[in-house]
Symmetry: C2
Subunit: 222 residues, 2 copies
């Protein structure tokens, strides 16, 4: 499960403090499929970053599968992340010096799962599902926006994590590719994965078990 | 007007040639509002890059307002671009070391238009329209995805160019912000601007005078 307890995130920049999250509280139960919706700038990416241990709250607690990850050191959070979480970043963040195939294999090497001899096959299978197997030898700078997004989704699923955090996973996709990704997420959830995703797309939002709405850093409905 | 005549674009990478555009031909007349739609990886961003003189065709001609821009040198194309074109990139490409306000003023300084004493006022006005005036002192890395996109749109309109090229201008926006941007583009077109934009969003596509469909680097319907 993913639990936020009165979480504040205050960004300090140019001498002013900007509260991106102001007392956010919610629980996503194990195996739930939950959408997080809200206007541009409302705090969705910040929630994803905190839930994935990529950043820590200024105040409050982020507790994932019973572990208070906001309290862990940077190194421990990175280790925790490798074994527990797959993240689809809003702007992909593929490793520029690795090919598409290598980008999808990397999480498996870091997690030590699945066993070595199965990794190539799993990476090929995921790339096939997202329609990117024919471009597996390309580098990220040789891909279109939507192609990078699809590789990022395959990568997030690679090490078969318990939790999937996806930040606008279909924003750069045409309808056909979008439906493929929606089906993939639904299937992963059916297999028991806990999924928290943000989206501005009503079609994707409608697939969720529950909709969390966020405005100006506060959850307004649940 | 924007005219593509039998345009091929072949990317050479890792020893293989990849034809992103295969004989693309179309004309967007002066003052038209045209959408370019197609699957992920079909060549839309490549068309935008060539129409904006950011890259040159491998074969064929790109003629904008009577000028064969594919034949110009890199320096001449940059100069031509400053005075004629505003571009909204798919992934924004804001200047990281400039504030929001400075990013919007920069195109006016490069174009030498409008006159110096009017630039601040125009930048503030555009940022107000896209709902970003309260964040004008922030840097791009302190903004959310949708906020960066809105700044990128204000920047593309800043020097009042004749031609606006927009690559998925609403992909990272919630419905309310999306409608603001759609209205802004429609208004710019009403004032006589030629607009070519790509989108996966049916609502935005429906506003166009004409829909160009591209699949695997070829225009399939016009
Ligand atoms: N530098 C490059 N080297 C090799 N291939 C490239 C390069 N840049 C783009 N491509 C390929 O050219 C094709 C067209 O890319 P383009 O970015 O124009 O697609 P797009 O229609 O904008 O897609 P999307 O909707 O995903 O943004 C893609 O299949 C991509 O893999
Ligand atoms: N490093 C930072 N410094 C200052 N403010 C920041 C920083 N990062 C984000 N913010 C602010 O925090 C707020 C929340 O940002 P966040 O990226 O979480 O929004 P979002 O809901 O994901 O928006 P979008 O739908 O546009 O992607 C925004 O108003 C943004 O300006
Ligand atoms: Mg975001
Ligand atoms: Mg593109």
């Amino acid at each position: 499960s993913i639990e936020f307890r009165d979480v504040w995130k205050i960004y300090r920049g140019n001498g002013i403090d900007y509260p991106a999250l102001r007392g956010v509280g919610f629980v996503v139960e194990k195996g739930e499929f939950v959408a997080l919706q809200g206007p541009s700038g409302s705090g969705k990416t910040t929630v994803i970053y905190l839930a994935g241990g990529l950043d820590t709250p200024t105040r409050g607690e982020v507790i994932v599968n019973g572990e208070n990850i906001g309290r862990l050191s940077e190194g421990k959070r990175a280790k925790w992340r490798r074994r527990n979480v797959g993240i689809v970043f809003q702007f992909f963040h593929l490793v520029p010096t690795l090919t598409v195939l290598e980008n999808v294999i990397l999480p498996m090497e870091l997690a030590g799962y699945p066993p070595k001899e199965k990794r190539l096959e799993r990476a090929e299978e995921l790339l096939e599902i997202v329609g990117m197997k024919d471009k597996e030898e390309k580098f990220p700078n040789q891909l279109s926006g939507g192609e990078q997004q699809r590789v990022a989704i395959a990568r997030a699923l690679a090490a078969d994590p318990h939790i999937i955090l996806a930040d606008e996973p279909t924003a750069n996709l045409d309808t056909r590719n979008k439906l493929k990704i929606i089906d993939l997420l639904i299937e992963a959830n059916r297999l028991g994965k806990t999924i928290l995703y943000t989206t501005h797309d009503p079609q994707l939002a409608s697939k969720a078990d529950r909709l969390l709405k966020i405005i100006d850093g506060r959850i307004v409905s649940d």
